[in-house]
Amino acid sequence: MSSIWEYANPKKFIATTDRLLPWVSALALGLMVLGLVWGFFFTPDDFRQGSTVKIIYIHVPSAMMAINAWAMMLVASLVWIVRRHHVSALAARAAAPIGAVMTVIALATGAIWGQPMWGTWWEWDPRLTSFLILFLFYLGYIALWSAIEDDDTAADLTSILCLVGSVFALLSRYAVNFWNQGLHQGASVLRAGALAGDTEERVSNIFATPLFISMAGFLMLFIALVFLRTQTEIRARRMRALLARERMQ
């Protein structure tokens, strides 16, 4: 098996992803259905949180993908800056809306999950606040792609923005933790904190297995959508190039 850089060739990328897409999509659908149905119908309620714990099967996977999507965009941006493979830049562009939607889902489920406990529809909990800021970074990134006409310029500018944004996103996470922790140790009300190891509680296996299946499903969904959307971006870019050539004739 030769190097992964083969797939930097747009045609080869499209050919390969065309073959992979049905399988990845099927996996995505299967795993998500399995994980969510199992979690929704066949797990018990939590002692303290009641049935709201079922939100975990969507909240945690979406939050994980929201972060991973940005991480993938960061890697793809670096690949573009260093090796100038168009597929990489376009893959980053393709991934951004997916990440943004995941962030919204994480925010919505996080807020709904917390409402019975907080009594309000929103709390400036450090975790949720960080996701809100991440959403703004996604918006800015997507907006910059749309605002620039020249494809290479757009790829260059957005990749630099992604790099700088990543640093600031990490910095903001620390700042927000500092901002809301104040004098009291932030007692994270959300069970999700337990999964990340914030508290000593560990999620028992009853919840963990369908959760991991659901997370795997979300990951497959992300991959399938990135394949599909990157193909679209490659084709759109080719079309713009052809149209430009037409106009010059």
């Binding site: 079922k54 939607v101 709904i112 959508l225 052809l242």
Partner: protein, 59 residues
């Protein structure tokens, strides 16, 4: 449907919103993919006929 108790609204609405957003994302991605694929094929076909099809269409 398991007995969701007093949190039924919360749980169901969060599932509905999330799955709704995912479905919307998938649908929009697929629709755009098809549209761009068709448009590209059209532009490429125009190129192959050496622009004559374009001239005929304009004339």
């Amino acid at each position: 449907m398991p007995d969701l108790g007093k949190y039924a609204e919360a749980v169901l609405s969060s599932y509905a919103i999330s799955l709704g957003l995912i479905v919307a994302l998938v649908v929009l991605s697929v629709l755009r993919a098809r549209k761009v694929k068709a448009q590209l094929a059209e532009v490429e076909a125009r190129g192959k006929t050496g622009g004559k099809a374009q001239e005929q269409a304009d004339g």
